[in-house]
Symmetry: C2
Subunit: 355 residues, 2 copies
């Protein structure tokens, strides 16, 4: 292709704006439109929203179909929601306009895990409209699934897998604190679990299904546990302060069983200020097999930055994938896109043109 890759962003939260900012820095890419669900964003110029001191001529719109018709993107990045149910409407509109889709909705990383019927519908619609749809993000989409799958590639056999991501939520806002039950009493945390206001991590089902599909394992059942991380010390972030005895985060785990034995254990404690109790953050993968594989990194790969980068870096792979619904395990590995984005499209294309 000779013309720039035309990209649209859906969502003007921290992720949507981070992705928009990154797209503006990439050569061979033109950010052509931004859609927001929030009505108060309608008509605003994107410039000040992403830290520019003036307008850049891209107005945020609440009308997805109209923006698509005006701006005619090749591909859109969706950063508006977490679930397949919530994401499917916008994705359907995008597909029907012939637009490829990258979604960072957590459940879209492996949509068949939560919503097999919708996943099948989206796949058929994408094939009919000759576009590709991918869910990605740091987790699910990378640390607790794709990286595990890739490392398994050096194994002749595997008994069990344990992957752990210990992160620091101190930089996040009120919504994240609420979802993890941060600041609650232990009793209120329990109640929050019961009435589902405390959710913990969204993504274990997706990661486990992605790993199992890649390895060829049939999973019998998955057990999830959510425990409060009760602080021994005072912890303070820009948006919240907690006292000893209050909940600093959610220790969320999932164990997948195969033939009655635990084969995949995913551990993801999320909290504020873990360093105050000498908790080391990081990403840790252990495969017990032939051979054993251990890989870890500290601190953890920063989630927000990484999710924005992954969404942008996957653009050429999605543009040149076969039509249909994909997971990160089906496409070539992500790579930092440090040159003109069109070079990969041209390289991957075999007789296909986006010009």
């Amino acid at each position: 292709m000779r013309d720039c890759i035309r990209v649209m962003v859906l969502g003007t939260g921290q992720m949507g704006l981070g992705i928009a900012r990154l797209l503006r820095e990439k050569s061979g890419i033109e950010l052509v439109g931004v859609y927001a669900r929030r009505q108060e964003r309608n008509g605003l110029d994107l410039g000040p929203l992403i830290g520019f001191d003036k307008a850049i001529g891209i107005a945020v719109s609440n009308d997805l179909a109209a923006t698509l018709e005006q701006t005619r993107p090749h591909i859109a990045i969706q950063a508006t929601c977490s679930t397949v149910d919530d994401a499917a409407g916008e994705i359907t509109t995008l597909i029907e306009h012939g637009v490829h889709v990258i979604s960072i909705a957590e459940q879209m990383a492996f949509p068949a895990a939560s919503s097999p019927d919708i996943a099948e519908q989206l796949h058929r619609l994408a094939v009919t409209n000759q576009v590709s749809v991918l869910g990605t993000g740091i987790n699910p989409g990378f640390v607790l699934d794709l990286l595990v799958i890739m490392l398994s590639g050096v194994c002749a056999n595997i008994q069990s897998i344990t992957a752990r991501r210990v992160n620091d939520l101190s930089a996040y806002g009120h919504a994240v604190m609420r979802d993890q039950g941060i600041g609650l009493s232990p009793a209120a945390f329990q109640k929050g679990l019961e009435n589902k206001t405390v959710v913990g991590h969204i993504g274990f089902m997706q990661s486990i299904h992605m790993i199992a599909a890649a390895l060829g394992w049939e999973i019998d059942r998955i057990e999830e546990r959510r425990e409060p991380i009760i602080s021994q010390v005072r912890r303070e972030t820009p948006v919240i302060t907690i006292e000893p005895g209050q909940v600093a985060g959610c220790y969320h785990t999932a164990v997948a069983y195969r033939e009655g034995k635990p084969v995949i254990t995913l551990i993801h404690p999320q909290q504020i200020c873990p360093g105050l109790e000498a908790v080391e953050t990081g990403d840790f993968i252990e495969i017990n097999g032939a051979p054993n594989v251990r890989l870890s990194g500290t601190p953890e790969i920063p989630g927000g930055q990484a999710t924005c980068a992954l969404a942008v870096n996957m653009i050429p792979r999605v543009l040149t994938a076969s039509p249909g619904l994909h997971t990160m395990a089906d496409l070539p590995v992500p790579a930092a896109m440090l040159g003109d984005a069109r070079q990969w499209v041209n390289r991957y294309q075999r007789g296909q043109s986006y010009d």
Copy 2:
């Protein structure tokens, strides 16, 4: 596909036999033939060669074309050599017989690095014959390139990359000792470098070109250095004993420059008994970028086992790839193949059949 995937192995060294043994354990795969360059292997039954106490009805053959015509494999795994020049003849024969190819020849991991003309010829021939060709292995092919590329996918920008693999050669045989200059005096090591009997690691050029292509970096030049690892202590393996002052291995590095600055540094010291001087073996990746990424594992992923597993695990991906020459960065990530191999072929195939 309903019938088993028919696989042939080329090579009866440690790797070829390891691959053959692993193929026999995989369901959905049938090992149909084994080719050897060594004349003394011609006509031998494979069974005793891979540790069985009786014949298994697969005779090793020195005649590649005849074996292909008799056994009609879907795919062949080549484990006979290290260079593209040396690999190209057998690969050409395989392609002309309509057989997909996985090669563990180090230079085949990115054949255009050493031999752009041969790479182009093999690519065209593969496209004409509608088969796919892949080079893989632990290194090049995984640790110092594919893993680096995948981790770069979480980055918006990158200043430099350093990847280091510190391994233990104690389990290897005479040929490996000779290639690394193990057991030589420092003066003989220098002379070995000059007359090219000491070669160090084969694969830096391939890894650097694979990373650079994936990231979109133009590399100005690559500087390689090979230094003797001079032992302070006595070191002993089943095949060699060295005294203090002798060479225990080769400290081989490569630095790639872009716009005059070092951007990719690969470090691969290979020696016997590193633990005797408290050298920790392992795989270590550092990306300086936005964000920084650090990942490491100790001990190192065992090279021989991993190379055999990767070659076998990539079978479904190569069978269903687009025709032509591929690198590990172009195909979906490897994964341990723990179920019937045909399920992935059926899943990846879109209207194509190997039945």
